[in-house]
């Protein structure tokens, strides 16, 4: 099959989302099964792309409208994008099933459309090779996220969504100002060409422009001063949506940030922007871990834990070394799996028992043993116990941090990890040794999904080398800008 058919990864969710009103007019019951079918097809397409990219070792460049890159918009599906498109598709498939079980608030057909478009937005953000197109996909992701956060229509949800909107609005305006500066200085929007021209930009323009772009993306990537929306939104959003936020929406923001940072590495003031980002990331980790300790709501607690892990990924990305990026990508994969598992588990408890406070988790080991087991494995992994997957990526991030000369950051992150261990162990203790209760029946399919994720965690934990190899390739895809430029068939324009 021709590589251009990779455009299906964007076209399929889009056309399906537009098709849902028609389906709803025919039969409202068919909407959710249709959602499941579409996400399954998306898994097939993404799997095909993954196989193509990793067997041939060459990225797939989709040129929209047969225009060569600086003229038209290209999708760049390299090693990183192929890996994450697959992760997005698989997790969306799981969450689609979870949504089918747990979404009871009307109107379900609109929920299904927004679900597909959230998946589309994250996919597009990861695949695109054009900086303004990145903005458009970022807005698609953000606006669907606003709507889905407020979907339950409670006061808390609306407030969280409003918070998110205001921060997101400021962020996207700043991102656009950054685009205006960069475009004014270079005359192009294509990422590969920007990377070529980055060295010639006036240093003031480049510094301010890059800082504004990073600032704009920091809202999506949940970095410290701009992530106040995240815990509220994670807590108030419907359970499946929280899974998606944590598993891949954040990752899309982080990836976009990493991509833009490394493309602009010829810019004179690059290292000062990196240093700023390291500080922001370290603060994110520390503040989030200490806030998590105070929480009484488990969903919110895990949300803070997720933010702190994201901060760790941003720390790894901001180191500016090959090993840092590789470790960051590895951690992204592990974090996606672990947080998907944890949020599915916690969401399932919330759905069955009607709440997610710590009291609801008392004696969960007797009430819902399977879910409790899954949450336990997820928690142990999140803490970074050896032989679970996060241990391997965390240790690599810390080593890369020491190698890059940020020992203080590493020390702070290690300290924060102790705090993390405290609250996760408190949760595990409550689940297995506290309270008592009747057995509640658990869904077999959801149980199978959770066990699958548990198996992935354990397999990566015991044999980290295979995924580490993939992560290294994906990391090189971000880090090696020279290869990125040579892979994009740029047309010579202008003088």
């Amino acid at each position: 099959m021709n590589g251009q058919y990779a455009a299906l990864i964007i076209a399929l969710p889009l056309i399906s989302a537009f098709f849902i009103p028609v389906i709803k007019a025919a039969s409202k019951k068919a909407v959710m099964p249709f959602l499941l079918l579409v996400t399954l097809l998306q898994v097939v397409v993404a799997g095909w792309l993954f196989k193509e990219v990793y067997t041939s070792g060459k990225p797939i460049i989709v040129m929209a409208g047969k225009w060569q890159p600086p003229i038209g918009i290209d999708l760049y599906i390299g090693h990183f994008a192929a890996l994450f498109l697959l992760i997005i598709a698989v997790i969306s498939f799981f969450t689609a099933y979870f949504s089918m079980k747990s979404i009871k608030v009307e109107p379900v057909d609109k929920y299904a459309m927004l679900f597909l478009l959230l998946m589309l937005g994250a996919t597009g953000m990861i695949a695109t090779g054009d900086i303004f197109n990145l903005f458009v996909f970022m807005e698609i992701t953000a606006i669907t996220a606003y709507a889905l956060t407020a979907y339950n229509k409670t006061g808390e949800a609306a407030e969280a969504s409003m918070k998110y909107m205001i921060l997101g609005g400021i962020g996207s305006s700043f991102f656009l100002i950054g685009i205006a500066l960069i475009y004014g200085a270079t005359g192009t929007l294509n990422m590969a060409q920007l990377a070529q021209l980055a060295g010639n930009i006036n240093p003031t323009v480049a510094q301010v422009g890059l800082a504004l772009l990073v600032f704009g993306l920091a809202v999506e990537a949940e970095l410290f001063p701009l992530n106040a929306w995240a815990p509220d939104a994670y807590q108030a959003a419907p359970h499946p949506v929280t899974v998606m936020f944590s598993a891949f929406v954040v990752k899309a923001g982080l990836y976009a940030m990493a991509r833009i940072l490394y493309l602009m590495q010829d810019v004179g003031s690059w290292h000062s922007v990196l240093r700023l980002l390291v500080i922001m990331a370290t603060l994110t980790v520390v503040v989030a871990e200490f806030s998590a300790l105070r929480q009484n709501d488990v969903k919110r607690m895990i949300a803070y834990s997720s933010i702190s892990q994201v901060g760790m990924i941003a720390f790894a990305i901001a180191l500016g070394t090959q090993s840092g990026i590789d470790a960051g990508v590895f951690h992204m994969v592990n974090h996606a799996v672990v947080k998907a598992l944890l949020f599915i588990g916690v969401g399932y408890v919330g759905m069955k028992l009607g709440g997610t406070t710590l009291e609801d988790f008392e004696g969960l080991g007797r009430k819902m043993p399977l879910t409790a087991f899954a949450i336990t494995v997820g928690s142990l992994s999140a803490v970074g116990i050896p032989l679970f997957n996060i241990f391997w990526s965390k240790i690599r991030i810390l080593l890369a941090g020491v190698a890059a000369g940020y020992a203080w950051g590493v020390a702070l992150i290690l300290g924060a990890s102790v705090v993390e261990a405290v609250y996760y162990i408190r949760l595990i203790h409550r689940m297995w040794f506290g309270g008592s209760g009747e057995r509640v029946s658990e869904s077999l399919v959801l149980g199978a999904i959770m066990l699958f994720l548990v198996a992935v965690i354990l397999v990566i934990g015991f044999y980290p080398n295979y995924i580490w190899g993939i992560a290294q390739k994906a990391g090189a895809d971000i880090f090696d800008v020279g290869r990125y430029i040579s892979n994009v068939p740029l047309l010579e324009v202008g003088a």
Binding site: V136, Y146, G155, A158, E159, S161, I179, A180, Y183, L189
Partner: protein, 116 residues
């Protein structure tokens, strides 16, 4: 001192005024008005970046040759940005309506107090 064009000045002023409203005001709708003004400012900024003195609009009929037209790309970008802006505004306003229904106020501080 720096010398910038009056268009840049106007656009940056709009952005700052909007940002001020978002930072300082307590009323949700006022914040959204601020965001909207900010978006207008950003759009004006983008268009000013694409302007070339003495050239006409990029519609290549009636004697406008390619060498006598302004840059079309920022205009295309701003068309997109305007539509995205109105989409965000509509979404934000419907969330504001829900907030008012739940808390019977638009003041964010009172909302926090009501929630306790």
């Amino acid at each position: 001192m720096i010398h910038i064009s009056v268009y840049y000045f106007g656009a940056i002023s709009l952005i700052l005024i909007g940002l001020y409203a978002v930072l300082v005001k307590k009323n949700v709708l006022k914040m959204l008005i601020g965001l909207s003004i900010m978006e207008t400012g950003v759009n004006l900024l983008l268009i000013s970046v694409g302007y070339i003195s003495g050239r006409s609009a990029p519609i290549l009929s009636e004697g406008v040759t390619p060498g006598r037209a302004v840059d079309p790309i920022p205009q295309a970008l701003v068309l997109t940005a305007i539509v995205i802006g109105v989409a965000t505004t509509a979404m934000a306003l419907s969330v504001a309506i829900i907030l008012y229904e739940k808390y019977n106020t638009l003041n964010v501080e009172e909302m926090r107090r009501l929630r306790g």
